[in-house]
Symmetry: C2
């Protein structure tokens, strides 16, 4: 009788990443092996369809079919298309973060390091523009019901940027604000690029421009 879905409430995904201090795996509320595999198949199918034709190409029936799962099951794992795509983004970001860790930016100044890192990420997205489209559109279209998941993505992004800054000490409040603004610019610039309203060069300029905020908020002005 209890139809306690995997997720507590309708439209509220369970696969919380929880705290998130840095790497942390999905950790999904103890799933059996088969369930973990299902979840993985679903995310894989989602990413594959997305890289074909972007947001519209990710059709729930097809995701279900391609991952060998019933439609109802898909919805039990991801209570909406947006949830699914945001989770897909979490997944991709995790990869990206690990990759970036292995080859940290070469620049000296924090601002330049962040800009370099974001441009690297941007080039990665350029290789899969459709996938980028699906993920970013889902992210910005997400409503309150997806807040926890979107927040996780945001924390991951913040972690990537803070990593790139290569700080010795904990960031100041001012720096955190600058990082938030950089994230805003990053998302919004991506959107203008994806919808063909800004060129790659323009995105580059905007990223470099916003990164100057980091110099502005350096904790040790007499560096």
């Amino acid at each position: 009788m209890h139809d306690v879905r995997l997720s507590p409430t309708r439209r509220r995904n369970t696969f919380e990443v929880g705290q998130m201090t840095a790497e942390v795996k999905p950790a999904a509320l103890q799933l059996t092996e088969r369930q973990e595999a299902r979840r993985r198949r679903i995310l894989h199918a989602s990413a594959r369809l997305a890289s074909r034709g972007g947001f519209d190409a990710v059709q729930m029936r097809e995701v279900a079919e391609n991952s060998g799962v019933a439609l109802g099951t898909l919805y039990r794992y991801f209570p909406s298309k947006v949830h699914l795509l945001v989770a897909t983004m979490q997944d991709q970001l995790q990869h990206m973060h690990e990759t970036l860790r292995k080859r940290p930016p070469t620049e000296e100044e924090p601002a330049a390091r962040v800009a370099q890192t974001l441009m690297r990420a941007f080039r990665a997205l350029q290789r899969e523009p459709h996938l980028a489209d699906a993920m970013v559109r889902a992210l910005t279209f997400a409503d309150r019901s997806v807040s926890p998941e979107v927040d996780t993505v945001s924390r991951l992004t913040t972690a990537i940027i803070l990593d790139a800054m290569g700080l010795d000490e904990a960031p100041t409040a001012e720096q955190l604000s600058a990082v938030r603004v950089i994230e805003h610019t990053w998302h919004s610039a991506l959107i203008t690029w994806l919808s063909g309203r800004a060129s790659i060069a323009q995105v580059k300029i905007d990223i470099e421009t916003v990164c100057r905020l980091i110099d502005l908020t350096a904790p040790t002005p007499a560096r």
Copy 2:
């Protein structure tokens, strides 16, 4: 036989604002009076429904009904829900621009002036959070087919910010880039606020932070 819609191609709205150097009215490709009235009724219904329940509450059938127009006609005027909402936003922005013009910011420094103006706009949006939700979500969800319309909104926003800066001369390329970044931050910060992931205070801080870029790019450093 010719089914030349009001809009040239499917999903490409005709009601171009054209050049847009500042105020310019919709100018809509010569519409008869009745048509202009219809268009206005539609936009009105759209805004009304939006301010009730946001993006989801704007249902095309209801918009059609509430504005006394057939569904097919609605689609002839606005080839998609997103087109409709973006047009609604154009409309609202126009009002906003005029209002702001009448009471220009009181601050001295350009950065402070822009921040003040944006906070004013933000307070206006807070009075109609659902409407804000509908418009902003539509704006960021818009795909390439809506580019021209979204671009118009962007130009309007840019005009508002440049106005607020109160420059004596034409803006430099650097300043324009800063303005773009401010716009990015503005949109993205709004989204985080609308989806409950950031407080009003946080949005304020982010806006103030990003506005510091204006000082940074002042054309006359020895002011």
